[in-house]
Symmetry: C2
Subunit: 503 residues, 2 copies
């Protein structure tokens, strides 16, 4: 009797898995279309590709919103006959299901349409280097994002609803407190480092053959442990990582023939994301436990590699001979010390994506403050450029020469991605804390890196981060992987050690 009572639940869990994997098939198929769009799509193909992508998104969404599936999730979530991981999957899927159901189809359509319009208005504004060209559509989109705050719900601040989308549990309260502690410390370290730096920044001169750069990128990715039988490297205008499942993870990069360090550190950054995707539990394909923890933790992986490993002295020791071998003429007067200084040069600048490890966080803080005030009606869309300029003056000491070098530089708002930027800073913090933990476990890691053996951090991250998928929130995972809560102090100490003591 007992057995037959129990029988339906495993079957029903299997139904849940099947539906989730079907949805995953469609979502990942859509990811293939998006990858193709950024890499190989012929110019005239964009129009119909847009509708094909929209149809797949709607189809996946419709499958996830079916009433019977909600009933199934409810039933599974109230049984005690699932194991811990099964329960976690069901709980997370049900949360998503309930959230999805909050949206009226008309709102979703309006939001998607407005994103599309706002994105194209942004492209146009970029061309004309004029925020005013974008203002009206951005304002409409921000209105919808405010509406969305109330659809999703929040406890204290409407911005919380959006922050929660990118990193569960993160709030204005949490970020206000952390930025308030971070920014003065950053300023202190930044000024001290700049006082120590012998200017000007070492600059590479010459033309660096694209194919040589490409081979170098491939070499480094292979050394990092990126599995080229389960992934690819291609070119696109903006570098990105995209996954179609753990056995097919693709990176893109771009070639700048004036500066090979761009391709190299882009490969390392995207490689960090990609190793995470390749390392997620393949058996949980389509389920929450097969997905990455959060945007913050994803970013921690790219920062761990890009800054923690890639901008270490050990890595420069490893890289310099390779680089010199590829470009002997241009690197005649360089050595690994100069390379190390060049890739760790601290200098406030106007463009976030080009910023160094310290001043980067001012850029994030500016966007955080603006998004928060927009969501709270403290800031009107039309006043974005003014406040942007004020903050850049205040945080970075810089004047904004034009909109393209100011508030038109990022695509995020044009996509309606408000709440995304803070994950970049949180990712850096988590990245450093993971590096510290790894370093405490394997104090000699730098020797391996210097010798071109990067398998240590890869194995460690696999064990401490990748395998958990979405089982924990960022903060929980941090506790598990580093045995400590998120500690701002670790990041500051790391910067001090690196830039004031060791450099």
């Amino acid at each position: 009797m007992k057995k037959s009572e129990k029988a339906p639940i495993p079957l029903k869990y299997q139904q849940y898995v099947q539906q989730m994997q079907k949805i995953a098939d469609i979502r990942f198929a859509n990811a293939v279309l998006q990858w193709d769009q950024e890499t190989y799509l012929p110019a005239k193909g964009a129009g119909v590709r847009g509708r094909q992508i929209a149809t797949l998104a709607e189809t996946a969404h419709a499958l996830f919103s079916e009433d019977w599936f909600g009933d199934l999730l409810q039933e599974l979530s109230s049984t005690d006959r699932l194991d811990e991981n099964q329960r976690k999957n069901v709980t997370l899927s049900l949360e998503d299901y309930i959230k999805n159901k909050k949206y009226k189809p008309q709102f979703v359509r309006k939001l998607n349409e407005q994103v599309n319009i706002t994105f194209h208005a942004w492209l146009d504004a970029r061309k004309k280097n004029d925020f005013r060209v974008w203002e009206k559509e951005l304002d409409h989109l921000i209105s919808l994002k405010k509406e969305e705050s109330y659809i999703l719900g929040f406890e204290k601040h409407p911005y919380d609803a959006h922050l929660n989308e990118f990193d569960k549990g993160i709030t204005v309260e949490f970020l206000d407190e952390n930025f308030a502690r971070l920014l003065p410390e950053l300023k202190r370290v930044q000024l001290a480092v700049q006082g120590k730096q012998d200017g000007p920044k070492p600059l590479l001169k010459g033309i660096f053959d694209g194919e040589e750069q490409w081979r170098l990128g491939l070499t480094i990715l292979k050394k990092m442990g990126f599995d080229f039988n389960a992934g690819r490297l291609d070119r696109s205008e903006h570098p990105f990582t995209i996954s179609f499942h753990t056995q097919d993870v693709r990176i893109t990069t771009r070639i700048n023939e004036q500066d090979p360090t761009q391709l190299i550190w882009t490969c390392i950054h995207e490689g960090g994301h990609a190793l995470y995707e390749q390392g997620l539990p393949a058996e949980s394909y389509g389920l929450p436990l097969g997905e990455a923890c959060s945007f913050s933790i994803h970013e921690s992986q790219s920062r761990f590699w890009e800054n923690g490993i890639g901008r270490s002295r050990a890595f420069c020791h490893f890289l310099f001979p390779l680089l010199k071998n590829c470009f002997p003429d241009s690197l005649q007067r360089w050595n690994e010390d100069i390379l190390y200084r060049a890739v760790n040069w601290i200098q406030p600048s106007l463009i976030r994506t080009e910023a160094d490890e310290i001043t980067y966080h001012y850029h994030v803080a500016v966007r955080y403050e603006l998004e928060k005030k927009l969501m709270n009606n403290e800031l009107k869309t039309k006043d974005i450029p003014i406040l942007w300029a004020d903050y850049y003056k205040d945080y970075l000491g810089l004047s904004i020469p034009d909109d393209n070098n100011g508030c038109l530089q990022d695509v995020h708002w044009a996509h309606g991605s408000l709440g995304y930027f803070p994950t970049y800073s949180l990712g850096s913090l988590y990245g450093v804390q993971l590096l510290n933990q790894y370093s405490a476990t394997y104090p000699n890691w730098e020797k391996d890196i210097a010798n071109g053996d990067f398998s240590g951090p890869h194995k460690w991250l696999n064990r401490e981060v990748y395998i958990y998928g979405k089982k924990f929130t960022s903060l929980e995972l941090c506790n598990i992987s580093t045995c400590k809560p998120l500690q701002m102090s670790q990041f500051i100490t790391y910067l001090e050690n690196k830039f004031l003591i060791k450099l």
Copy 2:
């Protein structure tokens, strides 16, 4: 009153179009996944890609099989308030719908599974060069194909049901009659040509740089009118053309560094297919009138270009200087006459895909006879190699040395594509008849080709073939475009003119 009576129909037709375009989005998305599978997919990606492709196919199929959609099609097909093209779309969709409904889901699953197993058994058999490795699974698949004949229905011969799938209205009766007339004529011309040929066939010697070949392929495709803003050329193991809509049509080819003519004539062949796809009516996206007429007519387009244009003396006149410019050393002793003779060399051979314009049809006839007898229980699967050998002896005068050079050479049966091969011969006949009609309209066309201007045939085919989509059957289209029914005699006269009079 009258107006409100009429109102629902246009709206309902719009519903029909929307559903068809949604289905097209998913099918074409799946085509992107298939293209990627053949071009850029990393090795380990194949497994999950297979299930993603299967899910998209099932999703599209489910959308097309919804009951409300059948009701809608029935209603639209019985109204007189649609225009001619709308009526044609609805009629063809309803035919498809009814056909689809004949299949039980269990049968479709069984067939798909058996195709998958049979394909892998074929790969294995190819590796071992042994038909016996394939026999059992092929036999299972053929049994299912026989079952399918009765599901689809036929009037006289079970094979008719399958022939109809690739070219509507084509029957055993029609093909028996045509092959019976074609084969003796072919034999007569073949023997006469071989008597005239000064052997041996001119062969190119040397290594032909792949990148030079690639550029030549691109040049020729551009000259043919292939729009690279609405398509691409990539590499794959087996060349193919695939379309995601008229503005994104992709070709693949392969590089043989021993023989550049392979890449060149593959590009022309696939280019012929691709021009057709780029020229289909874009406004009928997702509807029958936006699709190609049939497999035969599709093949007529590749043959028109590959043989009619590409193997003309005029084309060799155009190509030779380009070829010599790319590979001056290897072509030192060649001239355009030698090139013309080389690409028009008539010689029976074992492999269909390498056959010349005349003996090619023996290869098709062998397969046609075998498929017919398999469907009619006149031939047992285990006896395929024996009958294959008999026919090759009879038609081509050749002995079969091993299975890879015999009945294991084509993938078609492994895919369950019985009924496909005859479209290759029909395509050649249609292709020649189209060329004759074009030639009658523009008697000086060869001058343009010799000067590298290929816009004439492209424009003409656009007007006479592309724009009709699937509005007519192959035979109807032939009547419209060439003002005559399909005439076997035109093909024979073409061969005589080309190989016995002009050469």
